[in-house]
């Protein structure tokens, strides 16, 4: 029976018109994901050796253990947004002679299909194997592996349970993040040491394999809890209720409304991202990439000794501060295709409308930039280079992105499944993304060829700064373009697929 259900799920996906239309894109993206997984596996295999070189005074296992609780804490935020167990999946089966238990196990089992849950296999297992290879005891290491994997899955099912009980407001997420940062800070100065606690617990499991039963029991317990919860939930009216419950709890953006009509529009855009499947999952999938991809680049270019190192870091900076906006702003107007006529006829002039978009995108670049603020304490030079990239993004790239995003209007269904859904994207968008990234490369290469690399970077940063200061000029140009193109856009958005 389970087999039937799985087949249905597969058919649901493969037979959706969106999936078929964009098959090529999907293959392309599958490759990207595949490489990302290989990349993670690489980290997993070499992690033991990396930790050994970076922290020679501590055993790698202990270093790994120190970070575990923090990792679980951070992962929780991500899981909270990415993971969605929708009881709607089994709605068509509720009236059929199928055991309810089976359906719930199926629902919970299906939820395990998430990239997060590959981490035990991709990171923890290779790490354990390299530890065994270097002389750790097999039995103890195996117990440790079980315990860590159980904790990761515990997190998975705990989040599912918590999500059933309440939904997070943006402010609470920020609070949670700040608390974690504060703990890391206090840890750093040895005031409260969560890392020590983490180390003690997991090292104890390594030393006494019997302790591994504890995380396993926790996992079982939370699974039971989820099971009970869904058992009570699998009624049509309750499935509905939960959907509507979300609406009330999410008014965390009201602070923006103080900034008049521009703020009102910005708040609306945040709600758009927050409440619709597609933009929401876009942001979750982009965020970890922003944090993970630049690390090897930063590591390989450190310390900065020549212009090429500097440029690599500049490039990583473009990526860090601009990636989300590059991904989001491609479809900047398409996101609003379902209520575009309202935006044109409501009491908002085009200048305010464009200004709201512009400011919000600036905010979206500033948030990741500020996440990398700690680099300033590590190496001011690298921070300066990231800042150059930030300026270039804010001053030049942002304008280009909004400019191009008006050229390719396509209707988007906001709340349709996000993964492998490229409706509304076109090849032009991909080209545009590449173009935006490569313009600075070309500029830099020219200066590299005439041996004036640092001057090249200075010019990039300088023009970025000019662009930021002259944002009113950009906005005027964009408004003009928008007034001209809005009719075409509105017409495209009105079309039924």
């Amino acid at each position: 029976m389970i087999r039937q259900l799985i087949i249905h799920q597969w058919r649901e996906m493969s037979r959706s018109p969106i999936w078929r239309k964009t098959l090529l894109f999907n293959i392309f993206i599958s490759f990207l994901i595949f490489f990302f997984l290989v990349y993670l596996l690489g980290i997993g295999i070499f992690l033991y050796f990396i930790l050994k070189t970076v922290f020679p005074e501590n055993p790698p296992l202990s270093v790994f253990n120190q970070g575990l609780l923090y990792y679980l804490g951070i992962e929780m935020i991500w899981r909270f947004y990415l993971q969605k167990v929708s009881a709607l999946t089994v709605q068509p089966y509720l009236h059929l002679p199928l055991k309810k238990k089976l359906l719930i196990h199926f629902l919970l089992g299906k939820s395990l299909l998430s990239l997060f849950n590959l981490i035990p296999v991709l990171i923890v297992l290779p790490f354990a194997i390299s530890a065994i290879y270097l002389g750790a005891s097999v039995l103890n290491m195996f117990a440790w592996f079980l315990a860590v994997s159980a904790m990761l899955l515990f997190n998975h099912f705990l989040v599912i349970y918590l999500k059933q009980i309440f939904s997070l407001k943006p402010l609470e997420v920020i609070l949670w993040g700040v608390t974690l940062l504060l703990l890391i800070f206090l840890d750093n100065y040895g005031i409260i040491s969560l890392s020590l606690l983490s180390d003690i617990c997991f090292t104890a499991i390594y030393e006494q394999p019997i302790f591994a039963l504890l995380p396993l029991l926790l996992l079982l317990f939370v699974y039971r809890l989820d099971f009970q919860r869904f058992h009570n939930l699998l009624y049509l009216d309750k499935i509905q209720e939960r959907q509507s419950g979300e609406a009330i709890s999410r008014q965390g953006f009201s602070f923006l409304k103080r900034f008049g009509r521009v703020g009102e529009l910005m708040a609306l855009e945040l709600q758009l991202i927050w409440r619709n499947k597609r933009p929401r999952s876009l942001s979750y999938s982009v965020l970890p990439m922003i944090l993970i991809y630049p690390i090897p680049i930063l590591a390989s270019a450190y310390p900065v000794t020549n212009g090429f190192d500097a440029f690599q870091i500049f490039f990583a900076g473009i990526f860090i501060t601009g990636f989300f906006v590059i991904a989001y702003a491609q479809l900047l107007f398409n996101w609003k295709s379902s209520f575009f006529d309202m935006l044109l006829t409501g009491n908002i002039d085009h200048r305010r409308f464009i200004t709201a978009q512009y400011l919000l995108m600036m905010l979206f670049m500033t948030v990741p930039y500020s996440l990398f603020f700690f680099v300033l304490f590590w190496d001011p030079q690298i921070f300066a280079l990231i800042s150059v990239a930030y300026l270039w993004n804010m001053g030049i790239n942002l304008y280009l992105m909004i400019h191009f995003s008006m050229a390719t209007p396509h209707k988007i269904a906001l709340n349709e499944t996000a993964y492998f859904n490229w409706q509304g994207s076109s090849k032009i968008h991909f080209l545009m993304g590449l173009l935006i990234v490569f313009i600075p490369v070309i500029i830099y290469s020219i200066f590299y060829l005439i041996d004036l690399e640092f001057l090249g970077l200075l010019i990039l940063g300088g023009s970025g700064l000019l662009g930021v200061l002259g944002y009113r000029f950009w906005i005027r140009r964009l408004v003009k373009r928008f007034s001209r193109l809005k009719y075409l856009m509105a017409e495209a958005y009105r079309e039924m697929n």
């Binding site: 379902s338 044109l344 006829t345 009491n347 709340n415």
Partner: protein
């Protein structure tokens, strides 16, 4: 209030609308009737600057709508679902519109009070997103939003279609009530001849993009229109 000069809209050389001259005065209720594809929605979209005319212009209070955006301040409109923000609850949507119109929350509450009967005790307290509402309720939300901020011009496309009989009567009452309270220009399209003749004193009959009749309503209007639509009489 609204002045149309030499207006035409062509799609691939096919003329969708052609109105050489038309004036709608303040306080007037202007009803548009015609078969599907006659150009009613196109005309409304041209007034709202959603579609660029092929020729000619629409002026609102003397200003060309494609040039000046000031008409947005005093115009409330609802044509179709693309005016609704699907991921907001009805109340969030009303508040959004109210804030754009600089209407305070107490004013908003007052203005929505008027619509209580129309909403039939639903909608205001609704915690579902607009996309989860029924088509009829979505329409009610859109129409209500068009009335927020006491606009001087109200433009509605087929407001009576898809509503239950009770709501239709309520809506007619509300529109009449608004017209008694203040000077408001109504531009409404409809298939339903009964309803439109009930509130509008001026009716334009559109056929293939042309206004073939522009009449002040009297007791014979309904008959005339019915005859036209049943094909008995060439008008």
């Amino acid at each position: 209030m609204i002045e149309v000069r030499g207006l035409s809209k062509k799609y691939d050389r096919k003329t969708a609308l052609d109105i050489p001259s038309l004036t709608i005065s303040p306080g007037e209720c202007f009803g548009l009737v015609g078969n599907n594809g006659a150009g009613k929605t196109t005309f409304l979209r041209l007034i709202l600057d959603l579609v660029l005319p092929s020729q000619g212009s629409v002026a609102s209070k003397g200003l060309d709508v494609t040039v000046s955006e000031s008409w947005k301040r005093y115009t409330g409109s609802y044509l179709d679902e693309s005016f609704l923000i699907e991921f907001l609850t009805p109340m969030e949507y009303f508040r959004f519109i109210a804030n754009l119109q600089k209407v305070t929350s107490s004013q908003l509450r007052q203005q929505l009070q008027l619509l209580n009967g129309f909403f039939n005790e639903q909608i205001i307290e609704e915690t579902k997103y607009i996309r989860q509402l029924s088509k009829g309720n979505q329409k009610k939300v859109g129409i209500a939003a068009a009335l927020i901020g006491e606009p001087e011009i109200i433009i509605l496309d087929e407001p009576f279609a898809n509503l239950d009989p009770r709501s239709v009567i309520q809506l007619l009452r509300i529109l009449q009530h608004i017209r008694q309270e203040r000077t408001v220009t109504l531009i409404i399209s409809s298939h339903n001849l009964n309803h439109i003749t009930e509130i509008c004193e001026r009716i334009a009959l559109l056929d293939n993009g042309r206004i073939i009749q522009d009449i002040q309503t009297d007791e014979h209007t309904l008959k005339t229109l019915e005859r036209y639509f049943s094909g008995e009489e060439e008008v």
